[in-house]
């Protein structure tokens, strides 16, 4: 009747206990990381598209406006991919025989769509409405990132529910003047780069009635110190926010030196709904 186990077994037994514990923890952490990993979210992945279209080249290089191609971002629920015609507008003249553009010419000739791969792909049960975001002062870059610096389009953010909620629970941190929507470089006001805003809330103000400028209006002459009265339906973006409208009236500008203040101001001006409403389920799921 000797020992069943030798000396080492004690150490072994305790070690294996500890190990089991560690494995369980590791597994948990791994799963938690997995659901946020690019493998699941597709963050930063560049699917190979029929045409290697470069936003960098067209926006930064050629200085095209976002809306030149994405014409409906302000009125359509879907941002919309430009029709082949948009490409052909220019490429009927330039790069007419570039191989890269073969699919475009094909599509134009045959009338069959160019089959892009969707980069920003929300699940089917999410009802995302594009125009309301644009109209309420969420800039392109806030969700899509610096598209102007993307040679190939990729998804900047996770597009996961928690990411949506971050903003829906506290919109103020991302709000910007509608005049700055398409400004890729917009960083929000700071003490050295302040923003002046004013609004003409007479009758039903639309988002566009709020006018902001990055120049000191009091310094830079009347044409800035005046803002248009009537609501201009389609916001013609205008980096220093002074529309050339005939009817103008004097305005009192408020100076903002931090995003939080500006956010608070715009939340009130744009009548952004309360976090409670914005994070309510039916806002996105129907």
């Amino acid at each position: 009747m000797a020992q069943v186990f030798d000396r080492s077994s004690n150490a072994l037994a305790r070690f294996s206990l500890v190990l089991t514990g560690l494995i369980v923890i590791a597994l948990g952490v791994a799963l938690d990381q997995l659901q946020r990993s690019p493998w699941v979210t597709r963050q930063g992945q560049r699917p190979d598209q029929p045409v290697p279209f470069s936003h960098k080249h067209h926006v930064e290089g050629l200085g095209l406006q976002c809306q030149y191609c994405h014409t409906q971002v302000e009125k359509a629920a879907y941002a919309g991919i430009p029709p082949t015609k948009t490409c052909i507008n220019c490429h009927a003249q330039i790069w007419t025989n570039a191989n890269l553009l073969e699919p475009v010419r094909q599509s134009w000739a045959t009338g069959a769509s160019i089959q892009w791969i969707r980069v920003h792909d929300l699940p089917d049960y999410v009802y995302f409405n594009h125009d309301i975001h644009v109209n309420k002062g969420i800039g392109c870059a806030s969700c899509h990132g610096r598209v102007d610096q993307m040679p190939l389009m990729y998804q900047q953010n996770t597009l996961q529910m928690e990411w949506c909620l971050n903003c829906h629970r506290n919109p103020a941190v991302n709000l910007r003047p509608t005049s700055e929507i398409y400004n890729m470089a917009w960083t929000g006001p700071s003490s050295d780069k302040p923003v002046w805003c004013s609004s003409t809330v007479k009758g039903g103000a639309t988002a566009q009635n709020v006018v902001c400028t990055t120049k000191d209006p009091n310094a830079s002459g009347p044409e800035v110190a005046m803002v248009e009265g009537a609501a201009s339906g389609a916001a013609v973006p205008n980096v220093d926010g002074a529309p050339a409208a005939p009817l103008v009236m004097p305005a009192t500008y408020v100076k903002f030196t931090s995003q939080i203040e500006l956010g608070k101001y715009l939340t009130a001006q744009y009548h952004i709904r309360t976090p409670n409403e914005l994070s309510s389920c039916e806002t996105c799921h129907r």
Partner: protein
């Protein structure tokens, strides 16, 4: 599609009896050793084998599980759908969505804004008059058909059939090719053959057209031209359900064909002689009549209420809306009508009938000039003649009724025409028979032996949307374009012409009657568009281009409304009443399928029928006494015989049905040709219908067969849950001695679910709905005091959640959505249900599933029969999610898949739902619907076009329910937010509200005291159902008020 579940199995049952069946052991044997995917696959293979079907059938014949085995669709779709469900699990479930392609336009249409629907006006041509509609289309796909609000007649209202034409358009079983002797052919080939043949003939000798009722002035125009070219060619219009009675009567009375238009807004007393004018567009002018009736039947201080008498055979919603309903045999109705004219009670009337007769004729006389008599289309010519006489006598003509030209351009007495046609077919005179749109082989009177005659014709042509009983045996079949794909025109009830414009390119390149007739004309290639424009030049005044554009935009042509026509006093015509005697049989168009043309529309098949709540079937309907007399029970199989022709029928009671009459509905018993949905549903009543007994027949026999039929009734008061407990009534001891009450109906009264009172009582006590009145036994029941909503402060958490928060920025009180439903106005016509089907992508689940109670309609019309089922009073109550403020469903959901929005909508988050079904258990209204199996169709392409893109398609294992059309609410809010304003009253209209012909349903913001809904809710008669449970429903009901004749009270 989902419907296939039930129907696809039927053939299997019949053919596979002989097959040896597996034992469970063998099943296991087949499965052992299979793992993972292989195993799935094998299960599928297994489920394919016939033996297996047999086994399942034998193991448990009558339950839901049975036919999942043979449900091909979801079997194929399984992995795919697991995918879909997992996708629903979304980023939380560790799944990766597959790459999704985008197909941008090559040239984007100017006016297209992606995600913004567009609306186009058109009209649904129907033999009883076109229904003007406004079609919602998403990226040029029609996704919803609704009434045209700009139209003077329909005022934006619609009905069940019109709503359902959407599914008809996308029906995957529509015929898709021109077929010549069974081979696919081309339209051009047909044109050549036809023109060639026509030219051969002497002026069209031997060319016959058999058309459905022609509703298009243009088509009539074209026919004129054809006749000019081919004087010998003949055209016969015939439909199984037609207006021959009215035609015959008007011919006899006025010497010409006229239509009667009734102005119910002028009428204080309405007498319907077997006219179901609240049942649907089967009755001409349903929409204006229903609207006017409801308007005049709405109770308001000082506003005179109308009173409705109905003398009818088959109990209809009209009959049950009536203050006083008299059930008579078809033969007796004619006698009764003639007696009214004569002014002396009909011979052999019972005391009760005499009393009714006296009171009625007195009331009519009293309100002469403000009374009207409406004869039913299915009533005999004698009844119509009587109605003409009565209206004349009552001075109604010109006030409550006007006579006009006929809505259809070429009125005719169709049966007679058909008889002569068949005679000529048999005589071999017919060389070419061109059938335009109808299906005589299925629906022609049995004694004409139409199919045999049809076979004798050398060349037969069939233009139809389906290769149906006629199309399958015709020499040529031409696939017909749906009206949503067509150019044509048609007149509405009031004569207004609407131009029918295509919403979408013909999905299968279908053709129309216009094209067929055009083939014989100068330019055979001339399009329907040109033809319509040509005629339109006739009726569009002023600048044509502008007028045409306006007509297309508005959906109707100005100045085309009929002017009243003076026809003089009706000549007393000796039209005899139909023969009675023995057990009479009465043939009726089905409230859902009409004459069978909608047999393959799943929405209508599954739609619980008015009054009987029968779904997926028709039955021999009769009274309790008749059942007793014939020794049959509900659900029995029986053989129904009329003049030697027999058919096997199920038996079902129709509460309030007259004794010794059996009513059967037409349109069922279609063959496999009908399509995956319609094939083999119910029995074909046409096989009993002869030229001598088109509307009704005498001396029918019903003999019980062995076995039961297993009908599928969606509400319980008919079959299981009748009688008995009524004896234990707390208030009226022993009211139900023989157990012939509807227990459900009785309980509905007892529990204050239905509350109503008579005009006198309301005048005495306006608050009767809460204090209890004869009609409503509120009080003394339930948990709460007097069955009323407990005070807020009785709650544990009085102000746990308030819905009057003010928005910090706009300082406006937030929205609080609510609904009010006026039970006085609800006529139980089912329009709302079908509208809901279309708006919310509700799946059709099939007969087997409905039978076990898994029908998915978010909205149902609860029908309660008060009192003795021999002669009950019925109440209709639309019942959908009540959006309770203290919703029980929300509290018990373990994952928070159903929650309350700040604006008080009880919202369902499908993608969060794991399917515990606890919410349904805890819902006292049982309005939640669960996807027990994969009901939504992820396979059929054509149906994908139909879906509403703003509403998720629910996968298997997910709970769903009425959402107050939250997608419409959100759309309105987004629009308002973009304009920095608050949502205005009327911005949000729910699908059911939009469809309701009588505006019974109101929806809106109850915090806005000026809103319609807030006003309705402020009325004293407004009450919540099951108030004492303190769920605080947002949907409330306006108690009914009836206006009975004191002499009959």
């Amino acid at each position: 599609m989902a419907e296939m579940k039930s129907e696809a199995t039927q053939p299997v049952v019949v053919t596979q009896i002989a097959k040896a069946k597996l034992t469970l052991a063998e099943v296991q044997a087949k499965l052992t050793g299979k793992t993972g995917r292989r195993f799935w696959k094998n299960l599928d293979e297994l489920a394919e084998t016939e033996e297996f079907h047999e086994l399942m059938r034998e193991e448990f014949p009558r339950q839901a599980g049975a036919n999942e085995w043979v449900d091909a669709v979801s079997r194929r779709g399984f992995l795919k759908v697991m995918g879909a469900s997992l996708a629903l699990a979304g980023l939380a479930g560790c799944t990766k969505q597959p790459d999704e392609p985008i197909f941008p336009y090559v040239k984007q249409p100017e006016d297209l804004v992606l995600g913004k629907p567009m609306y186009f006006a058109t009209a649904f041509p129907f033999p009883t008059g076109a229904v003007p509609v406004l079609v919602k289309s998403d990226a040029f796909r029609p996704i919803k058909v609704d009434g045209n609000p700009e139209h003077p007649m329909s005022l934006g209202k619609s009905d069940a059939l019109t709503q359902a034409t959407l599914l008809d358009l996308y029906d995957p079983d529509r015929s898709q090719h021109v077929v010549y002797r069974g081979e696919n052919s081309t339209w051009e080939a047909f044109q050549q053959a036809f023109t060639a043949a026509a030219k051969q003939t002497l002026g069209g000798q031997g060319i016959y057209f058999l058309s459905e009722t022609i509703t298009s002035p243009t088509l009539a125009e074209q026919w004129k031209q054809v006749q000019a070219a081919y004087p010998q060619a003949k055209l016969v219009q015939w439909e199984p359900v037609n207006r021959d009675s009215a035609r015959a009567a008007s011919k006899a009375a006025f010497g010409s064909y006229v239509d009667a238009q009734y102005k119910l807004d002028e009428a204080d007393v309405i007498l319907s002689l077997d006219a179901d004018f609240l049942g649907g567009i089967a009755h001409p002018g349903f929409l204006p009549l229903a609207a006017a009736y409801a308007e005049r039947h709405r109770y308001e201080e000082g506003k005179p209420m109308n009173r409705l008498y109905v003398v009818e055979s088959m109990p209809t919603v009209t009959g049950f809306k009536a203050e006083h309903r008299l059930a008579l045999k078809p033969s007796e109705i004619a006698a009764f009508a003639q007696a009214l004219v004569a002014g002396t009670a009909p011979a052999g009337a019972t005391d009760e009938q005499k009393k009714y007769f006296a009171a009625l004729s007195a009331d009519l006389k009293k309100s002469a000039g403000k009374a009207v008599v409406i004869p039913g289309e299915q009533a005999s010519p004698a009844v119509h003649a009587a109605a003409y006489a009565l209206n004349e006598a009552l001075g109604a003509v010109g006030k409550t009724v006007v006579y006009t030209d006929t809505v259809v351009p070429m009125p005719s007495e169709q049966l007679a025409d058909l008889k002569s046609l068949v005679a000529e077919m048999n005589a071999g005179k017919v060389q070419w028979l061109v059938v335009l749109g109808n299906n005589p082989n299925y629906s022609a009177p049995a004694d004409l032996e139409f199919p045999t005659a049809f076979a004798k014709v050398p060349v037969t042509v069939h233009l139809g949307t389906h290769v149906d009983e006629t199309g399958s045996v015709a020499t040529w079949h031409i696939n017909k374009a749906h009206y949503l794909e067509s150019w044509t025109d048609a007149r509405a009830y009031d004569g207004t012409i609407s131009i029918v414009q295509p919403m979408i390119d013909p999905l299968y390149g279908g053709k129309q009657a216009h094209d067929v007739l055009q083939t014989l004309l100068a330019n055979p290639q001339g399009s329907a568009y040109e033809a319509v424009q040509a005629t339109a030049r006739g009726y569009i005044q002023g600048d044509f281009a502008a007028g045409w554009r306006k007509a297309l935009h508005d959906g109707w042509v100005e100045g085309t409304t009929f002017a009243p026509k003076s026809v003089g006093a009706p000549k007393a015509a000796g039209l005899a009443a139909p023969a009675g005697g023995g057990i009479e049989i009465s043939f009726r168009p089905d409230p859902s399928l009409y004459d069978g043309r909608f047999a393959n529309v799943g929405w209508l098949q599954e739609l619980p029928k008015q009054v009987t709540n029968l779904s997926w079937d028709n039955a021999a309907l009769m009274s309790l006494n008749t059942m007793a007399k014939l020794g049959v029970e509900e659900n029995d199989k029986a053989e129904l015989e009329l003049t030697g022709r027999k058919v096997v029928v199920p038996v079902l009671v129709a509460p309030g049905h007259p004794d010794d009459v059996i009513t059967v509905h037409l349109g069922f018993g279609r063959g496999a040709e009908a399509g995956r949905v319609g094939a083999g549903v119910g029995f074909n009543a046409y096989t009993l219908r002869t030229t001598t007994a088109v509307l009704s027949g005498a001396d029918a026999k019903l003999t019980k067969l062995s076995g039961t039929y297993d009908l599928c009734v969606t509400k319980v008061h008919n079959i299981e849950h009748r009688g008995a407990f009524a004896q234990h009534d707390l208030n009226q001891p022993l009211s139900d001695a023989n157990g012939t009450y509807s227990l459900a109906g009785h309980e509905a009264m007892e529990r204050g679910i239905i509350r109503y009172a008579t005009l006198e009582e309301v005048k005495k006590n306006p608050d009767f709905a809460h204090e209890g009145a004869s009609g409503s036994l509120v009080n003394k029941v339930g948990y709460g005091v007097e069955g009323e909503t407990p005070k807020k402060d009785e709650s544990f958490f009085p102000d746990a959640w308030n819905y009057e928060k003010t928005d910090p920025s706009s300082l406006k009180i937030q929205n609080a959505w609510g609904m009010a439903i006026d039970l006085n106005s609800c006529i139980g016509c089912n329009a709302c249900i079908v509208s809901c089907y279309a708006e919310n992508n509700i799946p059709v689940v099939g007969r087997e599933q409905v039978k076990v109670g898994r029908n998915m309609q978010w909205l149902r019309i609860d029908t309660y029969f008060e009192g003795d089922l021999h002669a009950p009073r019925a109440h209709f109550q639309p019942m959908a999610c009540q959006h309770c403020e203290n919703a029980g469903c929300e509290q018990v959901c373990p994952v928070g898949a159903t929650v309350h929005t700040p604006e008080g909508i009880n919202t369902m988050v499908y993608n969060r739902c794991v399917g515990t079904r606890y919410c349904s258990n805890n819902c006292p209204y049982k309005v939640r619907r669960f996807n027990f199996l994969l009901y939504s169709d992820y396979e059929t392409e054509s149906l994908k076009f139909m879906r509403n893109p703003d509403v998720s398609v629910r996968s298997r294992g997910v709970m769903e329910k009425c959402s107050y059309c939250v997608q419409r609410v959100e759309a309105a809010k987004i629009q308002a937010d973009k304009e920095n304003r608050e949502v205005r009253d009327g911005d949000v209209v729910t699908a059911c509200q939009q469809a309701c012909p009588t505006s019974a349903i109101t929806f809106g913001n109850i915090n806005d005291k000026a809103s319609k809904v807030a006003k309705r809710k402020a009325e004293e008669r407004d009450y919540p159902v099951l108030a004492d449970l303190n769920f605080r429903p947002r949907t409330t009901y306006t108690a009914g008020v009836i206006n009975p004749n004191p002499e009959l009270a």
